[in-house]
Symmetry: C2
Subunit: 234 residues, 2 copies
DNA sequence: GCGCAAAAAATCGTATACAATTTGACCATT
DNA sequence: AATGGTCAAATTGTATACGATTTTTTGCGC
């Protein structure tokens, strides 16, 4: 009956926000499998806080779409349906070109430098092998898009992208096939190059294809686990 | 020290969701002025529930950007800064054309019918005068955009638009000049007409201008109240 | 051994209790 | 009168308590 463990930072006094972030990281990094039950008592015990704070954190995560709360049953790590996944990527295709253009407006040489730097890091991590590398890779891939969003200087867009990237990571972790995603890295580079050349149309074009590729790499046939609950009502 | 009143549905047993919706409606309808303190105890008394549920509702509203929660000080109806307002409309310009195109894909004659119907309603309300009419007008105006979003069949986009429209309503209530907004109604009609004619480029063009007009109608000079807290750091 | 009903345990929903922090008032001092 | 400080009241932060619901286990008959 134990729920899956989240690494407990020992001792430290922890607030709602920290709990939320810890659980979120664990979900996005796939240390918590989709469908895992997040019992209020158990999570509280791990962090040495009362259920009150855990509840608040779980409700916030539910709002972000990373957790499902079922009345009188508890909170579960979200298990996005293929349809949900499609909607997430459709939304990204819709807004990311705009974010790209907006970001490009505010971009100086130092910003481009930062982007390249992030891609270098991403490249290094991808050289590795194994589970850890894959996690880091997914994360780094998301960070590229988040950095673009932050360069718009628009906090609203940034928050939307935060949510979309987090949910995308969950989807990729769920349905992703380990192999191919390395081409995504090259696409990031190409996008930055297009921006550098001032060819925004091309950059947007590349961005859309990039998102297409991410989605195409997924194998979203059902029954990759206990989809049963969703298969019926809730 | 009394906080402003929310109309209390007598007796009925009320859940977190209802409280959230009631407060949200009150904020969007401007029955609760921006900056108003929402004391947990007072709100709880109005709805005959404990602070626990009120807190949950307020936290959810904070996530939507309709309420600011300041640590150890309490929750206040959001008082969006001009910069925030600009970001909200910038985001809308970014995503609404895409929503329009996406919605158009899924649109049949019955959907167009629904849109026209909504606009008729909107027109009737605008004939009225006074505070109530203005509220209804703001609401109806938002509903048009929400209905478009719902026609995409994309729940993620729909939620984003929910948030954007709610926050826009708050901004309009705050900075809006009562006079001019009636032209927005005509613009809604024009957009639907363009969709009917299958001229999506034109519809998108109109949509962007429509949002521009809404924003242009605002008078966002500072000091429309006690902006002091925001003027410094929080 | 299998199915089913009832009891027991676990878990969530909500209220309340208590600690920590802020707010406001009152008074002393300059 | 203005400034500053201390204490009381109010308000939020967190934990705990208790009732309601769900889940599991038990035990009985077949």
């Amino acid at each position: 009956m134990k729920t899956a463990a989240v690494p407990a930072d020992d001792q430290i006094d922890i607030s709602t926000q920290s709990i939320r972030d810890s659980i979120r990281d664990a979900i996005v990094d796939r240390r918590l499998a989709p469908g895992t039950k997040l019992s209020e008592a158990d999570v509280g015990a791990l962090f040495n806080v009362s259920r009150t704070l855990v509840r608040a954190a779980l409700q916030a995560l539910a709002y972000e779409g990373l957790v499902n709360v079922e009345k009188n049953r508890g909170a579960f790590v979200a298990y996005p349906s293929p349809e949900e996944a499609r909607q997430i990527f459709a939304t990204r295709r819709l807004i990311e070109p705009g974010i790209l253009r907006e970001a490009a407006k505010h971009m100086g040489p130092s910003h481009l430098q930062h982007l390249r730097q992030l891609l270098m890091e991403e490249g290094r991590l991808m050289a590795e092998r194994g589970q850890t590398a894959r996690r880091a890779e997914i994360k780094a891939s998301g960070d590229f898009h988040l950095m673009l969003a932050s360069m718009t200087g628009n906090a609203v867009m940034q928050r939307f992208m935060d949510e979309l990237v987090a949910r995308s990571s969950l989807v990729i972790a769920l349905y992703g096939q380990s192999a191919i995603s390395s081409c995504g890295h090259q696409e990031h580079h190409d996008i930055v190059t297009a921006i550098e050349n001032g060819d925004l149309d091309r950059a947007c074009h590349l961005m859309i294809h990039h998102i297409d590729h991410i989605e195409a790499d997924l194998d979203m046939r059902e029954n990759k686990g206990s989809d049963l609950r969703e298969a019926f009502g809730l």
